[in-house]
């Protein structure tokens, strides 16, 4: 299908972009890389009257060290994140998630911030952002504000972004000493949205787990941090018995949705499989 008609604006400054967005309010959508939005427009799941293409707004792309962490510009393409040595060393969770995002042609255009702002419940990057404790920078008429990932993702395709606002950057803390990341997802075909996936970011001290986060995607309306299950890890070393306890705990804690690919029971089961496949090798890696 084809999109419904819309007016197209391509501002060349952030100020102008916000001006157009404020003027049109709920009728306007931000167009970044378009790799999710264009599909929904084509299928007429969404029909905004105004599209504001931020592709020519300067200063929104790139990855840089800021403080002890990384600042990833919202318009940074997935392909650039995937190829970045900084991401590889400072944010290995994101590095290991990148190959799972759709396909090369989509990663060439899709953007980091676009994926975060679209907030698809089965997308990889929102879960990574929650697992890492990322912080979003949002620009609006009154200036900028920051929102923690936990508070940013509010529900199904719903975020803390208000009409008239633009996500400009995502700050990711640098990886701390002893912290390890693991990422895995299960999809029918490589590059499809996951039936369920796991972004794990945990501390290991002398072979034992410390604090950490197990964040599932494709498991609810937003990234789901399995807090009670993750608490079972603290002070433990990896064993098959611990894996089994985690799998049982996840069945209690998770309340996934059902769709044509998997019912809720299957998703709960797969969550246990994922956690065992991810944490075992993660604990073993010296």
């Amino acid at each position: 299908m084809k999109p419904a008609p819309f007016a197209y604006f391509r501002p060349e400054s952030l100020e102008d972009a916000i001006g157009v967005l404020v003027e049109h309010g709920e009728d306007a959508r931000v167009l970044a890389g378009g790799q999710s939005l264009m599909a929904t427009l084509n299928m007429r799941l969404s029909a905004p009257a105004v599209l504001v293409d931020i592709g020519r707004v300067p200063g929104l792309a790139g990855i840089e060290r800021v403080g002890g962490g990384l600042r990833i510009g919202a318009m940074t393409r997935h392909a650039e994140v995937e190829a970045s040595d900084l991401i590889g060393s400072e944010a290995p969770l994101i590095a290991s998630a990148m190959p799972h995002i759709a396909h090369p042609a989509v990663r060439n255009r899709g953007t980091f911030g676009g994926s975060i702002a679209f907030a698809d419940p089965a997308a990889e990057l929102p879960a990574c952002a929650v697992a890492l404790g990322a912080r979003m920078t949002i620009a609006g008429k009154g200036g900028t504000r920051t929102v923690d990932a936990d508070a940013f993702f509010r529900g199904l395709y719903e975020t803390a972004l208000e009409p008239g606002e633009v996500l400009t950057a995502v700050d990711v803390p640098g990886i701390g000493a002893g912290w390890r990341s693991g990422f895995m997802e299960l999809a029918r075909r490589h590059g499809d949205y996951a039936m369920i996936g796991l972004a794990a970011h945990v501390e290991m001290v002398d072979g034992r787990f410390g604090q950490g986060r197990l964040v599932f995607f494709g498991a609810g309306e937003r990234p789901v941090s399995a807090v009670r299950s993750a608490a079972l890890l603290e002070g433990e070393s990896w064993s098959d018995a611990l894996g089994a306890r985690l799998a049982d705990a996840l069945k209690e804690e998770l309340d996934p949705f059902e769709d044509l690919n998997a019912d809720a029971a299957m998703r709960r089961h797969l969550a246990g499989i994922l956690v065992q496949r991810t944490l075992g090798p993660l604990a073993a890696a010296a």
Binding site: F6, A7, Y8, M43, L51, D53, P104, A105
Partner: protein, 160 residues
């Protein structure tokens, strides 16, 4: 509000300027405005890869990019890459290995193979499969396409 937009871009090395509806995607622009029907329209939501074209040196989905977003861009399609001879060896290998049957996926598949060759010339069979995983082929089962990629590479003196 005006729902039209004027764009100017280079397509296969030639300048094209048109006034179009802002909602027109790039592959429809190439096919309907410029008559370049080698890029195919399949699923229209980014899944099948039939509309793959090269924009500013990288492959993209022609259905997930507005023509308006390609304003000022350098676009190449199967027609242009055939004319320059850049992918002639891949095309010949596709024919020899029967890497197509109906041919619907072939233009997109060739553009994807051309990018893989540039980015990872020594790709293993598994890596070739992963790279073309965004291009659906319903005829060949992909095996012959992977063979064709390797055949073209071997003839250049690369790993077979």
């Amino acid at each position: 509000m005006d729902t039209n937009v004027e764009i100017g871009l280079r397509v296969n090395g030639e300048q094209a300027t048109r006034r179009i509806e802002a909602r027109m995607n790039l592959v429809d622009f190439l096919r309907e405005e410029l008559g370049l029907t080698g890029s195919h329209v399949g699923c229209e939501h980014g899944v099948c890869g039939a509309c793959t074209v090269r924009v500013d040196g990288r492959i993209v989905r022609g259905c997930l990019m507005l023509a308006a977003q390609a304003d000022g861009a350098d676009v190449w399609t199967i027609e242009g890459l055939s004319d320059t001879g850049e992918i002639r060896d891949l095309q010949e290998a596709f024919v020899e290995r029967n890497a197509l049957q109906c041919g619907y996926c072939t233009p997109g598949m060739l553009l994807t193979c051309a990018e893989l060759r540039e980015r990872n010339p020594a790709a293993s069979r598994q890596e070739i499969r992963e790279f073309i995983s965004g291009n659906y082929c319903r005829c060949t089962g992909y095996e012959a396409i992977v063979d064709a990629f390797e055949m073209a590479r071997a003839r250049e003196g690369g790993p077979s």
